[in-house]
């Protein structure tokens, strides 16, 4: 297996966790209910924790001595490999929940399969992360249903969020060259089979939430290949990296 492809793949996993965790952490102290503030912080904690393990391992695989922090804090937009979905802004709680659900549903099947990865270290990370991700999916599914089938207002907000975010769901299961290489070497699952599971899960929850999936939506991608991120990522990094950039080369 080409080394660089495995590195790329680990960056994708790590960057997804980091950027979504970062987004969720923006809610900290501003949640709609104190209990949900805690719950979202909890998920953010899990995700940044996962990002640490994954980026640490990515740095090891790359073999240039880069640490988790060098990877997180010293790469610019073009070198980030997260999907576009996770860098979308929090919006209202409906957007945050919908973004989370659309990601969790994918991440759940992805990590379930990664528990069988041919790579031992990734297998270990996946085993630990999967338990957390299963909880995330339960949480976001429950809120999809609760808000979709709640009041007239919440229903409308959820439907609007789904319309806004659905176009970023395709990238999750899009098969790229790196994915083909990972599949060949048994590192990662076939995204085509993940897509089946994903579509089923999303359809079921969306239906229970009394929402409607947008039809014939253009699917935008470009995040995980690094070809074209959205304008949001630069601002995320400006914040995330501020201290490291303003005071280079120091221990914190």
């Amino acid at each position: 297996m080409p080394h660089s492809a495995f590195f790329e793949y680990l960056l994708r996993l790590g960057d997804n966790a980091l950027i979504l965790g970062h987004r969720l952490s923006e809610w900290c102290g501003h949640g709609p209910i104190l209990e949900q503030d805690i719950a979202m912080t909890n998920i953010a904690l899990d995700q940044v924790g996962q990002a640490r393990s994954l980026l640490q391992y990515a740095g090891q695989v790359e073999g240039k001595g880069r640490t988790e922090d060098q990877l997180a804090y010293l790469r610019d937009v073009g070198d980030y490999r997260n999907v576009l979905l996770v860098e979308q802004p929090n919006g209202d709680f409906a957007h945050t929940i919908t973004r989370q659900f659309l990601f969790d549903a994918f991440n759940y099947f992805q990590f379930e399969a990664l528990k069988q990865s041919s790579d031992e270290h990734l297998r270990a990370i996946a085993a630990k992360s999967f338990k957390e991700i299963a909880y995330h999916l339960r949480y976001s599914s429950e809120w999809m249903i609760r808000l979709g089938d709640g009041t007239e207002e919440s229903h409308q907000r959820m439907q609007a969020a789904l319309e806004d975010l659905w176009m970023f769901s395709g990238e999750l299961t899009e098969v790229t060259e790196v994915d083909e290489l990972m599949l060949e070497t048994g590192v990662a699952p076939d995204l085509r089979s993940i897509k089946k599971l994903y579509d089923e899960k999303v359809a079921a929850i969306v239906q229970e939430a009394t929402l409607v999936l947008p039809a014939d939506t253009w699917m935008q991608s470009g995040g995980k290949t690094g070809q074209m991120h959205s304008e949001h990522l630069g601002f995320i990094l400006a914040e995330l990296q501020f201290v490291q950039r303003a005071y280079p080369g120091m221990e914190w």
Partner: protein, 320 residues
């Protein structure tokens, strides 16, 4: 006071004097209940408003390890808010009412959170000084006379000491770092020192609530005693960091066995209490905004829960 009330009040005070815990269903004087609601809710609000200055740096934490630790700390504070709202609710008031009082300015919260967090070092100073000052107060409150409050404090204190060590460790790292980092730490101490001393409240002469609260054993030490205890514990820690406490009058008093320290700027203290601090308005606006923007979420959750229950009942009825 009618004889029956008088007997109850005497019985109550006797229990307090015997160091018995008062429990929610026990008889208590109205003023005791009111004082506790005021104090516990003020404490709960402080935990929640206190999330804001720290939340301000979550997205800018300088390493992933620090980001995780800071998130976990703020999450703990939210948890403290929850237990404390719970403890207040045992006195017959609900969270919605308490929040209303906060948002309308009727209830207070610790003024320390009306100061801005301006650098990463502030995450260290807040943990070390603000959680440190809170601990002095809260350790005392683990022995407070109202049972649910005392028990909430036991749980909270363990986490607060962890926060304090974590904050101190942030500053220690900075102080062992570059000149710029040490400067950042010193600047932070300069800004947080005096407001931290103010956290203990007005001086004993000026405090309106202290004596009654002491008699009821809600408080067991006066503001000035706690403040002195804090200064004595904290100054050696500042020395160890190699930082200078911004008080020219600070010096060890061999005869007293305590540090002497300078006069607090009470004009600033009262001014911030009255709402004229650097961030009072912004903190309240942030809380109100979160609450108002969350209204539809809370309504939807309630509507869904009702629908669900109704459906379950209908299903049961259909089977029967």
């Amino acid at each position: 006071m009618d004889p029956k009330q008088k007997a109850l009040a005497e019985q109550f005070q006797a229990r307090i004097d015997a160091d018995e815990k008062i429990e929610p269903k026990d008889w208590m004087p109205d003023a005791y209940r009111k004082t506790l609601i005021r104090q516990i809710s003020q404490h709960a609000h402080s935990e929640v408003v206190g999330m804001l200055p720290e939340g301000n740096w979550v997205t800018r934490a300088p390493s992933l390890r620090r980001k995780v630790a800071l998130l976990a700390k703020i999450q703990d504070e939210a948890g403290h808010g929850l237990y404390l709202y719970g403890a207040a609710e045992t006195l017959g008031i609900d969270r919605e009412e308490l929040l209303e009082e906060l948002h309308t300015g009727k209830a207070k919260y610790s003024s320390i959170f009306n100061y801005p967090s301006l650098s990463w070092a502030d995450m260290g100073a807040i943990g070390w000084l603000v959680d440190g000052a809170a601990i002095m107060n809260q350790v005392m409150l683990t022995r407070t006379s109202y049972g649910p409050y005392a028990r909430a404090m036991v749980r909270i204190c363990k986490e607060e000491s962890f926060h304090q060590r974590q904050g101190y460790e942030i500053l220690l790292t900075l102080c062992r770092g570059t000149e710029a980092q040490k400067q950042m730490a010193q600047d932070s101490l300069n800004r947080w020192w005096w407001p931290s001393l103010m956290m203990f409240g007005p001086s004993d002469e000026a405090s309106t609530h202290t004596q009654q609260s002491m008699d009821w054993r809600i408080k067991r030490k006066t503001n000035d005693e706690l403040r002195q205890q804090f200064v004595d514990a904290t100054v050696p820690q500042a020395d160890f960091l190699g930082l200078t406490v911004p008080d020219p009058d600070l010096k060890w008093n061999e005869a007293r066995g305590h540090y002497d320290f300078g006069e607090i700027d009470w004009a600033e203290f009262w001014n911030v209490v009255k709402g004229n601090g650097p961030c009072n308005r912004q903190r309240m606006q942030a809380r109100i905004k979160a609450h108002e923007e969350g209204a539809w979420v809370r309504e939807a959750a309630m509507a869904y829960a009702e629908k669900r229950q109704k459906r379950q009942e209908e299903r049961k009825a259909a089977v029967a």
